[in-house]
């Protein structure tokens, strides 16, 4: 929640007041010059929202949603491609009863009646606008996804006008910071000494940033638990650890079912990001009479270092003909 830099409150107040005054003065004139469909054109918007327009002009949306390059009639409408027809908004100097298709994306409940006024309604309306263009398979599972079911809106994580990130129009400077706002435990876990290269920070100034949350997760919905962006947890891990995919001659069955049987992916105090330190992790499933199964002390040769893996080094599977104990 270390929020991106915000416009000072005093500036916001001044901009709002001036914008309101301009709207009152020029709104009717602009409106009369526009079509009766309710659209007024982006130039009318920039009359009052110059600051927003300046930031917006740097984004991809500004490139795609303009008359010069628009592929569709809607895209040619600029600001109103997303906000809807602005005539009523302009005529009322931003105060009156808005057009039923007008969406402010400001977090209020404009347009809802006393029956509703529900946050979910507003979020759903806003999300629908975004999804009407971003209707590809990456967001195809949004409906019913954990975020959708918990009233997360597109604008919770993205800002079309004032993004804090270099890519993907995020409201936070990077994914680790942004996702960590709602998932603080996951953010805290990446501070543990065994972690993936996800720690954020300025390039060349201490951060890692080789991976980010979306390296493994798709926040827009997936077919796998925990929004893992693959057909299974293991298939996600194999993207970077293909050597563990097998099939091997000698398999270790829990490995095929889920890497998380033994590993915690967000960070661990233990080597290899293990769920429980060895040899105890192995001993929770193996108490064989032919095998050391006692409570060995901290200096014991079977407790230190890689412990069980000093011998059973091929714990993910072996392809050696004599590797049936995963030792070769």
């Amino acid at each position: 929640m270390l929020c991106p830099k915000r416009m000072p409150l005093q500036v916001e107040a001044w901009v709002g007041s001036i914008g309101l005054a301009v709207l009152v003065l020029v709104g009717p004139a602009i409106a009369s010059a526009q079509s009766t469909s309710g659209y007024v054109g982006s130039e009318a918007c920039t009359t009052c929202h110059a600051d927003a327009s300046h930031a917006y002009d740097r984004t991809v949306h500004a490139r795609v949603l303009n008359e010069a390059v628009a592929r569709t009639e809607r895209a040619a409408r600029g600001c109103e491609a997303c906000h809807g027809p602005g005539l009523t908004h302009v005529q009322s100097a931003g105060k009156g009863e808005p057009h039923e298709d007008w969406i402010a994306f400001t977090g209020d409940t404009v347009g809802d009646t006393d029956e509703g006024g529900l946050a979910a309604d507003r979020i759903e309306r806003e999300n629908a606008v975004c999804l009407s263009c971003h209707d590809h398979s990456r967001v195809g599972l949004w409906s019913g996804s954990p975020h959708a079911m918990n009233d997360v809106g597109c604008t919770t994580c993205h800002s079309t006008k004032n993004p804090a990130s270099r890519r993907h129009l995020l409201t936070a400077a990077d994914q680790t910071t942004g996702c960590g706002g709602c998932h603080p435990a996951a953010r805290a876990q990446q501070l543990r000494n065994r972690h993936m290269p996800v720690r954020s920070g300025p390039g060349g100034a201490g951060g890692e940033g080789f991976m980010n949350c979306s390296s493994c997760h798709n926040p827009h919905g997936t077919v796998t638990e925990s929004l893992v962006d693959a057909n299974s947890v293991n298939e996600s891990c194999y993207e970077c650890h293909a050597e563990k995919r097998g099939p091997f001659l000698w398999e270790h069955a829990p490995v095929n079912e889920s890497c998380t049987n033994c590993h915690v992916p967000h960070g661990s105090i233990r080597p290899n990001m293990l769920r429980v330190a060895g040899p105890r992790l192995c001993q929770t499933c193996h108490i064989q009479s032919l095998h050391p199964s006692q409570n060995r002390g901290p200096t014991d040769r079977f407790s230190v270092g890689q412990n069980c893996q000093h011998c059973h080094i091929m714990v993910h599977g072996s392809n050696h003909p004599s590797g049936n104990f995963l030792t070769r």
Binding site: L2, C3, R6, Q10, R58, A62, V64, A68, V69, R71, G116, G117, D121, S137, G140, L141, S143, G144, C182, P184, A188, L191, R192, N193, P202, G203, G204, A205, G206, V223, N231, E235, E239, E243, G246, P247, L249, E251, A253, N256, I269, A277, R280, Q283, Q288, S289, L290, S293, Q294, R296, P298, D300, S303, V304, G305, H310, C311, I313, P321, R328
Partner: protein, 768 residues
Amino acid sequence: MTPPKTTDRAVGARRNLVLVIAFACAVASGVAAAPRGALAEDDGHEQENLADWAPPLLVSGEVEIGGRSSGGDDGAGKFREYRDLDSGIFGGVDLLFEDEERRSYLRIFGSNPGYDDQRYTLEAGRYGSYSVDLFYSELPHVFSTSARSLYQRPSQETFVLPSGVQARIAGAADPSAQLGVELSAAQPVELGFRQVEAGAGADVQVNDSVRLFSRYRLQDRRGSRPLAIQFGSPGGTFDVFAASIDDETHQLEAGVEYTEGPLILGLEYRASFYQNELRSMTVDNPLVAADTTTAAERGRLSLAPDNSAHAVSAFASATVPASFPVRVTANLAYGLHLQDDDFLPNTINAAIASPALPANGLNGEVHTFLANLVGTARPLRRLDLKTRYRVYRYDDETDPLRFSAWVRNDDEARSDAVRSVRNDYTRQNADVTARYRVSKALETTLGYELEAWHRSDDRQVDDLLEHGPTFQVDWRPHPSTTIRTSYDFRDREGDGYDTLAFFESKFDPADFSALVASGITELPGLRKYDQADRRTHRIAIGGTILVGERTELGLDGSWEDMDYVDSDYGLTGQQGWHAGFDAYHRLHDRVGLGLWYTYEEFVYEMDSRWRPRNFGPFATFVDDPINDWSNETESAFHSLGGRVTVEAIRDRLDLELGYELHLGQEKMRDDAIPGVATAPGAPGNPDAGLAFTHPDIEESLQVLTGSATLRVSDRLELRALYRYEDFDLDDYRSDDLGPFRGGSDVFLRNNVEDYEVHIGILSATISL
């Protein structure tokens, strides 16, 4: 053996040259392509000349160049784990070139050029129509810089001891002492690898409905990692060495999407090819000078084999015509995993005839299948419904191979036949969720989830079912305040636990019967935690509260308890909870303060039994409840962060101070074995009958950053940054481990190094 580390002067000079050239090109291209109007403001004459040749491009973005200096323990492996912060000139570039109408673009991104973590991206395209991109990145992964090894590496796959070492140890009156003498000559070796990723992608919007995309990615890794090889039977010798890494993975994906109104269709193919340039690791046994039928001069490990995976996925999502919103989404995917690398011989021990192999390779073939169906509906304005069904099948169609004879650890010929067991499983998930908005301020969610596993006969439990309800309440007393709390209960139960299932699948019937008769199998009361009956309670709470217009507070917490209800041995219980807050307060319109803190705690409880035996006939082993023992592992973590931002001079000077602190601790306690019953004649074990409170494992990380950013003009920004990092880890398992610690084992001394580092940075950023 050491991963290349570009710190020598020649490489440093090359790095600086690259930086200067890149910077000059970037600035020159930026100036050349700057909007003509901007130039005209400065010098009309120059504008006229430049306009003759300058491409009609608009340039935006920024170029950063600066100097970095680090001091302290900046050579420590942990500090360098995933980054290269060597002192020197550094830079970065993020430039966007567009045509005058902003229809087409070219984006160039580069970070830390010339360093081991450098990254580059080149993107080009036409907005809304197509895009192509190229990327290249490097990532260091340093495990340790304190490791020492006696092994020499004549080839990437061969690790030999210096001439005469084996003979001297084998001939010594006290081989262990002699091993210590020899290992005193171990040389430093860096453990780590460099990962290079490169690739290209293309995305084409053919028309309003059809989109094509493709992507290729190469991952190449070279370096070394700690690996171990065992000689002798359990309790023999193990040698840890710096094994080579040299592999690459090629990934390819291509697909098409069709969208028309509320309908989305997609089809995608993905392929992955893993190629290991190294097939095996051959390592000298320091204790044996010549092969015999009971001892090996050297041993050989088989490394991960080449493999490939292919997957075809189809996706469809549509709004169903109804009187209320209904959406259905379906995914289908089929995957194929293949592996058929040639087997190594059973042994390289010259004194043991390597048994014949039943096949040259595995001819492994795994089929996966996924189906996922999601339906959402809003039959009432206040009611959302969701249902989902998912099935994932892992079907190993590989023919099991029977090895009638094999060689254990290169030094013991075995004639007990073993069979390569194949694992199949099917996992099904289903849930139904209803969400009802009672009022503006109150929402309730009720759901029921089910997870069913069906596993092949070699697993202990064939069918496992876990199910239970979910209840959630969202309370919004104010539009900007949300409190959410939920409770889950899950009950998992299998259809019977067969302790011997794996052994029955692995061994011939006669050998299995003999095994059972001897009692040499898993402890009957053991329940492996992934298949054990279990009851889970989980409570979560979270919220966001706005206090006035200046303060925002987030709260987050959870508690979970898992009880393995029928597990006499193995993991019997685990609990965990966490709590934290995240607050932001605007002290002044130019001063902001952020603070967050999270505490986490986890407890694992297990019960076990020491089952000692004499290394004589199997029948002499002892399996007595008097040798039961238990373990509790408890870990706790404090993590906090804070940040103060000050706009010291409006629109001119920003100051920022940040601090992060992480403290972690793990405690492990073993209860004593009440009474030690050893096998007749068994050698006494000094650990037997003792309770252990293991030394705590403690880790801490502090990161302090302070920066000042001065905006000299609209186009020039100067930044001064100081960063301090302090990392400490006390882990008895790895601290100062070897290379020799007595006995017959060889270690690498690859401990995780503590470090304390100061970094200073001065940089200039030019915005275009």
